[in-house]
């Protein structure tokens, strides 16, 4: 009698449990579906489809002002780009921006971090000072640099005061691009510094003590301990820095170049600037899209290359 009662109780509670479970599963599915609905629309409609659409436009003769149809023209846009000296120039410039800019910001970021790691007073104040440019508007700061570097600006006045001749700076096709790179490095030192400081703090003090016992010199410690152990930081910073550079190169170039659009003589035009000009000044969406496709392939290759080269294993 008692056993029977127990059994029925058990049955009851297990059916209650099943009901709870199916109720929970229902709730859970409603939650997942309702939460993912908008993100799925966003990632499909605003990220994936437009990406594919760019490829589509790149293979068509597509003028922004003509109503259509936009005939398929195969590789014509790509061929036109390779025969376009301004495009080639913009590709070369972009390489210069990335190679010098990323190397420069890693180098200076690391130097500042190493210096900060050496001192024990005022670390906080220095860290704030070096970080300020990173949080400020690129447009605003580009115009400040234009003002400082102009023909009768403060830097030229100082040069004259110490007996040097004034420089054309941003008006010179030879100097402008390096000054823009300088401004980009100036703005991102703080960001890299913070990453490197964190990397340095992760290196166990023990390793340096062991090296001291073995009689290692400062340089040996730097190359054999600091650099290899900072490697993950360097990889991360290089990849982030590259993508960042491709993006900010537009804002900085447009606002720092003397005639607003990659001048003088296209000496500062980056690929993104040229894509913008093709699309919104010359209205040639086909060619502009073809250029974005090339940019995409370039970034893809570069990222893979960086990950391959920089993640080489070090032997200890």
């Amino acid at each position: 009698m008692g056993a029977l009662k127990k059994e029925s109780e058990q049955k009851q509670s297990s059916s209650k449990f099943n009901k709870l479970l199916s109720n929970y599963k229902f709730q859970r599915n409603v939650f997942i579906i309702s939460a993912l609905l908008l993100p799925i629309i966003f990632y499909l409609g605003i990220r994936l489809l437009p990406t594919l659409y760019t490829f589509n436009i790149g293979f068509r003769d597509w003028n922004l002002l003509s109503a259509g149809p936009h005939p398929f023209i195969g590789l014509d846009n790509f061929i036109a780009l390779f025969n376009d000296s301004v495009f080639i120039k913009s590709v070369v410039n972009t390489m210069i921006y990335i190679v010098l800019g990323v190397t420069g910001q890693l180098l200076f970021g690391m130097i500042v971090a190493l210096l900060l790691h050496k001192i024990n007073r005022f670390v906080g104040i220095f860290r704030v000072i070096y970080f300020i440019p990173y949080v400020t508007s690129i447009v605003a700061i580009s115009w400040v640099f234009q003002w400082i570097l102009m023909k009768n600006g403060v830097i030229n006045d100082l040069l004259v005061m110490i007996g040097l001749s004034p420089q054309p700076f941003l008006n010179s096709p030879d100097q402008a691009i390096y000054l823009i790179i300088g401004a980009m490095i100036w703005q991102s030192i703080g960001f890299q510094m913070v990453l490197f400081l964190a990397g340095l703090e992760n290196i166990p003090e023990m390793l340096y003590e062991a090296a001291d016992i073995d009689g290692a010199s400062g340089w040996q410690k730097f190359w054999k301990i600091t650099v290899p152990l900072l490697n993950p930081t360097i990889v991360f910073s290089a990849v982030i820095g590259t993508i960042n550079f491709i993006q900010i190169s537009f804002t900085q170039v447009v606002n720092m170049s003397v005639n607003g659009a990659g001048g003088p003589l296209n000496s500062t035009t980056s690929v993104v600037v040229y894509i913008y000009q093709l699309a919104f000044n010359q209205f040639d969406l086909g060619m502009a899209s073809a250029a974005t496709v090339l940019l995409f392939l370039f970034i893809l290759a570069l990222t893979v290359f960086q990950l391959k080269v920089l993640t080489r294993k070090f032997d200890y």
Binding site: I132, S137, T251, N255, L295
Partner: protein, 269 residues
């Protein structure tokens, strides 16, 4: 020995001057009268706030400032909410298509937004989104980076914690807000700060999608102002630059510990 100890300080002080000089010169010029702007005084001889008054009275700076603020705030809220929600679901739930969804979101990281401006522009003109706030906003409402970041942090939340809340009868949205979010708060606030910064400074897309001067964001407004209305009037251009830069520097001073911790936290993942 003593010299060797002070060497890093000397190097850092020289570097600090290079970091700060552009700001100092910008502020100095913004307080100078037009005839004094080419003098080399750092402290203006005849300091004036005339430039600031001119800018607020005769240009749309205040309006641009508000536009930027509205757009950055809405985008930040949207990114914080959706990125953490999607990151949470991918990290903590098993469902059909989870892997595909995560791959789709990750793959957007490889496609720079520069590549999408042309289709976005065509789409916006087709749907009547050009020249609207929504037009500026829509591409930034969610980010692949944020989803990836939040997923990494959500994975570390113990399942027992979530299940305990389920046994207590809490709803799934309740668990997300009241149990999961507090666990990842530092990462979420870092994501929020960086989203705000990048939207506040966004230039390329707002430049394309907005035509009306009234709807410009601060960077676009400043750029047009400096090359157009105020051309070569450097005292006004520097005042405009100062207005765009100073509020962020103040916010940075208040939040600096969070920002620096945020980079370390998100960068080291």
């Amino acid at each position: 020995m003593k010299f060797g100890k002070s060497l890093p300080y000397i190097a850092l002080i020289i570097g600090s001057i290079i970091m700060l000089f552009p700001f100092i010169w910008m502020l100095s010029t913004s307080f100078k009268a037009p005839m004094d702007i080419f003098s080399l005084d750092i402290i203006p001889k005849n300091p004036t706030i005339e430039n600031y008054l001119t800018i607020f009275e005769e240009s749309l700076f205040l309006r641009w400032f508000l536009n930027s603020l509205i757009i950055a705030v809405i985008t930040t809220i949207s990114v914080a909410f959706f990125d953490s929600l999607v990151g949470y679901i991918i990290a903590k739930f098993d469902f059909v298509g989870r892997g595909v969804l995560f791959l789709l979101i990750l793959s957007t990281l490889m496609v720079p937004t520069e590549m999408l401006i042309i289709p976005w522009y065509l789409m916006s003109s087709e749907l009547g989104w050009t020249n609207t706030f929504w037009g500026i906003l829509f591409p930034g409402l969610m980010t692949g980076f944020g989803v990836f970041l939040m997923k990494q942090f959500m994975e570390q939340i113990p399942d027992d914690l979530l299940n305990a809340a389920r046994v207590d009868g809490m709803s799934e949205f309740g668990i997300f807000f009241k149990v999961a979010i507090p666990q990842v708060w530092p990462a979420l606030s870092a994501l929020g700060i960086f989203t705000f910064l990048s939207n506040w400074n966004a230039f390329l897309w707002p430049l394309i999608v907005i035509e009306s001067p009234k709807l410009r964001t601060l960077p676009v407004g400043l750029s047009f102002f400096s090359s157009g209305e105020a051309e070569s009037q450097w005292h006004l251009i520097m005042t405009g630059a100062a207005i765009s830069v100073i509020p962020l520097i103040i916010v940075f001073f208040i939040l600096q510990k969070h920002i620096i911790k945020g980079i370390t936290l998100t960068g080291m993942k």
